[in-house]
């Protein structure tokens, strides 16, 4: 029940409603759907009585009805109605949106909830404007009430589940389902039932935007998080005891645990005092290109200090064995604490790396404290690795953001398939091209032409492209085979030998202007990490210049 419209319009009982309808007919302008904002169930009941547009679409089936209730069920806005001007703006934007929705609607799309809503909003507009034209007196009251109800509806539509709005079947099953039932419910066969909305109209964040905004962000839970961290701090002495007894420790749970690790290192340091500082080696497993050998080598450095042998050996296993023999021979050597942040991060995730780390962990005098971020990290270790690691596990949920663990913007863009933005996009590529010799520019032009023509060949009929003018939905799949490009390049006198051709390509590789991958038959496929429009833009500029 909406407080804003409810007090003015007593529509809660069907009786009253009928009187309203009656007055509709008398007044001759359709405000029959005004109580719509009052309650969803009311709305579905009253709408069929409205004149004009909606009628032709027929009666609502039970599914629609349940849909409509679902749409409005999570409405949370209970604040007083906003000022008329703001409401009008919201109103207008809602109208704009409805119009767009109607325009964008596919022919084969089934008429359903969201469209109906859009139609209704549009219709409201028609009605009110009509009313304003004919009746100046009503004007004073009409927009206000009208808007009040609209103000309630529009944000409601957003606060609900817009992603379900186009669904005839809601992705959220009704009632409480057991986990497996829910899985099957959400994985029913059939085409994906999601809306065709896409992010083209939304300006995505750049790295700068992101860092600027996160720097300004004031965390509403900072106090609780600090308390949580403090709780974890209290178990430091327990961890120390576990180390002392020969266990290694693995921390899991949601949130970045780097800070906690750092604090533990500080704690260890202060416990031992500066006179006998403990040997602590910290590993950031999420660092790209980190190698196991460098980890082992650093530990050897921590043990031996200045007198490390000049040659450590190239294989990590050799370094590890050196470390083990050094630790064996030095009986007075204190324990080495190795703190590994994100032991399950992609660079360390490989089975071979985990096996080496397990051997490290099994070395006496090595105390390993590892953190794991992902939910399924236990799958990395089989029984013999688990045995070697000798872990005790502690839940250390911190809720701290993963700021250093990975590049947030990069992750999101790669999820959305917009990797190309990172290279500097169109501008970056053009900038590089300007500094390259004529030959290279020609080769890139050739590559662009080939790939764009492949777009045209293969993807005109592709219905997936309908939404965003064939944006980079699957650009990664489009590419030209290495041999073919070489052949074309020789035909065009761009490269006379394969050697030269490769040199040119290397330049592109270095600037990440092309992508290269092996397809299933083992052929090298070259692609361009740009969206199609961007490619066309680059080609245009290349041709014109």
């Amino acid at each position: 029940m909406q407080p804003d419209s409810g007090d003015e319009r007593p529509v809660s009982t069907p009786k009253r409603q009928r009187t309203v309808d009656f007055s509709d007919a008398v007044n001759g302008h359709a405000n029959g759907d005004l109580p719509a904002g009052a309650s969803p169930s009311k709305r579905t009941k009253t709408t069929p009585k409205k004149p004009s547009a909606v009628k032709e679409s027929g009666l609502r089936t039970p599914t629609h009805k349940s849909k409509a209730t679902a749409l409005f069920s999570t409405h949370t806005k209970t604040t007083a109605p906003a000022t008329p001007s703001r409401v009008r703006n919201a109103d207008r934007s809602a109208k704009k949106k409805s119009a767009r929705l109607l325009l964008e609607q596919d022919d084969d799309d089934v008429w359903d909830g969201a469209d109906r809503l859009a139609e209704e909003i549009l219709e409201d507009e028609n009605d009110t404007t009509a009313a304003e034209d004919t009746n100046g007196v009503v004007d004073t009251i009409e927009p206000d009430t009208e808007d009040a109800s609209k103000a309630a509806t529009t944000p409601k539509r957003r606060a609900g589940r817009p992603k379900g709005a186009k669904n005839k079947r809601s992705p959220t099953p009704e009632g409480e389902l057991p986990a497996h039932e829910r899985y099957f419910f959400q994985n029913r066969a059939g085409p994906p039932k999601t809306s065709n909305n896409n992010l083209n109209k939304v300006t995505l964040l750049t790295h700068e935007d992101y860092f600027e905004k996160t720097a300004q962000y004031a965390d509403p839970c900072s106090q609780e998080k600090a308390f949580l961290l403090d709780l974890h701090h209290r178990s430091f002495s327990q961890w120390n005891f576990e180390f002392h007894q020969g266990y290694n420790i693995c921390l899991y749970g949601y949130g970045s645990k780097r800070r906690l690790m750092q604090d533990f290192a500080d704690w260890m340091y202060h416990k031992h005092g500066p006179s006998a500082p403990p040997s602590i080696v910290i590993v950031n497993g999420h660092t790209p290109n980190i190698s196991i050998r460098s980890i082992f080598a650093t530990i050897v450095t921590a043990v031996l200090g200045a007198d490390i042998p000049s040659k450590l050996g190239a294989q990590p296993i050799e370094v590890l064995e050196l470390l083990q023999s050094v630790l064996n021979s030095r009986s007075s050597q204190g324990p080495i604490t190795v703190l590994i942040n994100s032991i399950d991060a992609p660079p360390l995730r490989r089975a071979a790396n985990q096996a080496l780390l397990a051997r490290l962990a099994a070395t006496p005098k090595i105390h390993l404290l590892a953190t794991a971020d992902t939910p399924n990290y236990l799958l990395m270790w089989d029984i013999s690795l688990r045995d070697q690691f000798n872990f005790v596990f502690h839940d250390c949920t911190t809720f701290a953001p993963f700021d250093t663990e990975f590049d947030v913007v990069e992750e999101v863009h790669s999820l959305l398939g917009r990797k190309g933005r990172r290279v500097g996009g169109k501008e970056g590529v053009e900038f590089v091209l300007k500094s390259l010799p004529e030959n290279a520019r020609n080769l890139y032009q050739l590559l662009l032409t080939e790939i764009i023509s492949m777009f045209d060949d293969g993807h005109n009929s592709d219905d997936e492209m309908e939404g965003g003018a064939g944006r980079d939905g699957d650009k990664d799949d489009v590419g030209i085979e290495f041999r073919m490009l070489y052949q074309k390049a020789t035909e065009e006198f761009i490269a006379s030998s394969e050697m030269m051709f490769r040199t040119l390509l290397k330049e592109f590789h270095d600037h990440q202007m092309i992508t290269s991958k092996m397809d299933t038959s083992g052929m090298e496929i070259l692609g361009i990490p740009l969206s199609r429009e961007e490619m066309e833009g680059v080609l245009e500029d290349l041709v014109l210049s």
């Binding site: 806005k77 957003r158 606060a159 589940r161 817009p162 379900g164 669904n167 497996h180 829910r182 899985y183 959400q186 994985n187 994906p192 999601t194 909305n197 896409n198 992010l199 939304v202 962000y217 965390d219 839970c221 998080k225 600090a226 701090h233 430091f236 005891f241 949601y254 800070r259 750092q262 290192a265 500080d266 202060h270 416990k271 910290i282 950031n284 660092t287 980890i295 650093t298 450095t301 294989q315 064995e321 050196l322 703190l339 992902t374 939910p375 399924n376 029984i383 013999s384 045995d387 005790v392 502690h394 839940d395 809720f399 993963f402 992750e411 999101v412 999820l415 997936e464 939404g467 939905g473």
Partner: protein, 694 residues
């Protein structure tokens, strides 16, 4: 090198972005600011005096004094080192016959005895994966101390290709006796052209120089090796067999047939040898448990819950005996680290500081029950004294403790007796000692069928078996006067009895006859007693007496341990921390943190609302929206829903870009946690990859 750089790489928040570095305190002089560290500082200051000797911390709000902490730690050390020794004894003992077989095989065989084939030992380990490691270590010890050779252990990770495999074999073989430096010297200090690290000539030289007779190459996880590499390696090794005395040892987890099937015939033809079998781990685990719990000198016991966890684990999945004993060790650690009353177990408990400990004892639930019982027995004075006089309480607690410990020992003696009886009498379904212990520790053994079975079977025993039974009868029963009298009578009876046949009681089936009569076309069995000799009648009386005695003994002994006063000191029965520590549920933890963040973020204010709200962390908000979606998620709509959550709460103040930044953070986290992945089905869609609760 990186020592200089790590300081520069430190970012402003004090974290370091380098891949790996040696820790340097950010500011050595003062602990870095902020509240938690200050609080810790206070603790560390106080602890500093203690810390040198023990890793324990003062309990009871930090009021425990140094001596108590030290005593607690010593008690732990002493107790566990005893137990550790017992475990080690069992581990040494358990596979000793296999070790003997394998080592005599290795010593006795040579290529000559096997017509030029490589002598090969195939060891099936089954689930007992750690046993092979122990076996190889022992074998290596034997061989190296006798200076006959050594064992080179290869794991599948050591064999990515032939060259590396050979290099690893050579290095391991040389470093085994010479150490790492010795290996380096061996490589460099030899005349003639320098050989590459994977040249078997090196190994040949080494073998000649040391006069080795055996070089065992052990493949720990033979299934995981690449068969192609294995084939190449085998043919290479066999061609060097005249210069290097190789023996091979394969650890097999599946079966010998499968192992053979993976290799080509030509390789199999190069091998000849024997097959050894190591038995499963569960037997060993049971033995360890029995040694730890049922020793007549036991002082501390783990309770029903923990026993349950331990055996649940080793039944549900493979668990090595080492892992088992580590879990037990952790239980011991837990007890002494966190339970201040555990100091009573110390040998020098009298030295302990009375004040905070006595307060703690008074708060024990079992102490309260004890007092209530005393009150019921009209000993109000004693209760008053317990509550007021620390010294009296302390002495009483020590008495209680000793008494309780004795009761526990008796329980386990009884358990052992029942176990042996059942094993001797009824081989088909005799329960393990752990199963019996679980019942005993929860106080259910007395009412169980096991005790009934034992008592029932006792009646049918003849005199020779009864003698055996007397032998396994626990001492606490045999010491009683009644039992001694019974024993004397029994001996007198057997002295008199000279017949070949042992004495039988009237309950014995041999002493009853079954008569078959047909009554109204139905067969009716009727039992009739045969006439018994006077001796047998006397014997029956003895049996009856013993039966009554034993029944009384069981009733008295098999009490519920949780009813013993002060059981908190000598019995640990907390299931939970142990279970969480060794079988974590990380996925559940993360899902819970995201689905109901205020379970973790304990807040004082009024926002502990289960609904989605902007007060929750961004990722939690997004995760809850994500849960409602189908298998395919439209990121745009997800963003709209996410924004609406913030907009509806913050109204005008809502900064869209800020919310977008939070959205980015949340989406990226879900992606990294493996809950979302790129989908090519539709533009700007992501695929859902994790379903809650599955």
């Amino acid at each position: 090198m990186d020592l200089e750089t790590d300081i520069q790489a430190t970012t402003k928040d004090g974290t370091n972005t380098q891949g790996v570095y040696i820790y340097r305190p950010a500011n050595a002089s003062k602990p870095h600011g902020e509240r938690p560290s200050k609080r810790r500082k206070v603790q560390t200051d106080r602890k500093d005096q203690v810390i040198d000797s023990t890793p324990f911390v003062p309990l009871l709000n930090g009021d425990e004094n140094e001596t108590s902490v030290q005593l607690r730690y010593n008690a732990y050390q002493q107790l566990w080192s005893e137990q550790q020794a017992k475990i080690q004894e069992i581990l040494d003992d358990v596979d000793s016959d296999v070790l003997d077989n394998v080592s005599s095989f290795v010593r006795s065989t040579s290529p000559q005895t096997y017509d030029g084939c490589i002598p090969t030992a195939l060891v099936t380990v089954g689930s007992n994966v750690s046993s092979l490691g122990r076996l190889l270590a022992k074998l290596n010890n034997q061989l190296t101390t006798a200076e006959q050779g050594g064992v080179v252990v290869l794991e599948s990770g050591d064999a990515p290709n032939l060259k590396t495999t050979l290099k690893n074999i050579i290095r391991a073989a040389i470093a085994n006796t010479e150490g790492n430096d010795g290996y380096q010297n061996f490589l460099t200090d030899r005349e003639g052209p320098r050989l590459l690290g994977y040249d078997l000539d090196l190994l040949g030289d080494y073998v000649k120089r040391k006069g080795l007779k055996k070089l065992v190459v052990a493949f720990r996880d033979s299934e995981a090796f690449d068969p192609n590499i294995l084939t190449d390696l085998l043919s290479l090794l066999s061609s060097w067999l005249d210069r290097i005395p190789f023996s091979l040892l394969f650890g097999i987890s599946t079966s010998v047939e499968l192992f053979e099937g993976r290799l080509p015939r030509s390789s199999v033809a190069l091998l000849r040898g024997k097959y050894f079998e190591i038995h499963g781990a569960s037997n060993c685990v049971d033995r360890i448990y029995e040694r730890l719990q049922a020793e007549p000198t036991g002082r501390f016991w783990i309770g029903r819950g923990i026993t349950g966890v331990l055996f649940e684990k080793s039944n549900d999945f493979f668990q090595t005996p080492e892992a088992f004993s580590r879990t037990v060790k952790y239980a011991y650690m837990m007890h002494f680290f966190a339970n201040p009353v555990s100091v009573l177990l110390s040998d020098e408990a009298s030295k302990v500081q009375r004040e905070p400990l006595c307060e703690a004892i008074r708060n024990l639930p079992s102490f309260r029950r004890f007092c209530e019982q005393l009150l019921d027995d009209d000993s109000a004075k004693q209760v008053r004294q317990l509550l007021e006089d620390n010294e009296f309480l302390f002495q009483q607690s020590l008495d209680c403790l000793r008494n309780g410990q004795q009761r526990m020992r008796n329980i386990f003696q009884a358990v052992k007796m029942i176990h042996t009886c059942l094993k001797n009498l009824n081989t088909s379904k005799s329960p393990t000692i752990s199963a019996l212990s679980i019942r005993a520790l929860s106080g259910e053994l007395l009412d169980s069928t096991f005790v009934d079975d034992v008592l029932k079977m006792l009646k049918t025993q003849d005199s020779s078996k009864l003698t055996d039974l007397f032998e396994i009868t626990p001492q606490s029963l045999t010491d009683t006067a009644e039992f001694q009298k019974l024993l004397k009578d029994f001996e007198a009876l057997t002295q008199v009895h000279q017949g070949k046949e042992p004495l039988r009681s009237e309950y014995d089936s041999l002493n009853s006859t079954v008569a078959t009569t047909v009554v109204q076309q139905r067969v009716r069995l009727s039992k009739g007693k045969t006439k018994m000799s006077q001796q047998n009648i006397d014997y029956t009386k003895i049996i009856d007496r013993f039966h009554a005695l034993l029944e009384g003994y069981f009733v008295e002994t098999l009490v519920k341990p949780q009813d013993l006063p002060l059981h908190e000191a000598f019995l640990l029965d907390m299931r939970n921390p142990l279970k969480e520590v060794f079988s974590p549920r990380p996925r559940f933890a993360i899902e819970r943190a995201l689905a109901s963040p205020f379970d973790y973020l304990i807040s004082t204010s009024e926002k502990t609302d289960s609904r989605i709200s902007a007060q929750q962390p961004a990722t939690a908000v997004l995760y809850q929206l994500y849960l409602e979606s189908g298998a395919l998620v439209n990121v745009h709509d997800l963003w709209q829903a996410f924004y609406a959550v913030f907009e509806s709460e913050q109204g005008d103040a809502c900064d869209e870009r800020m919310v977008m930044a939070l959205f980015y953070r949340a989406v990226s986290e879900l992606k990294v946690l493996g809950m979302l992945k790129t989908s090519r089905k539709k533009v700007d869609h992501a695929a859902k990859t994790a379903w809650v609760g599955l």
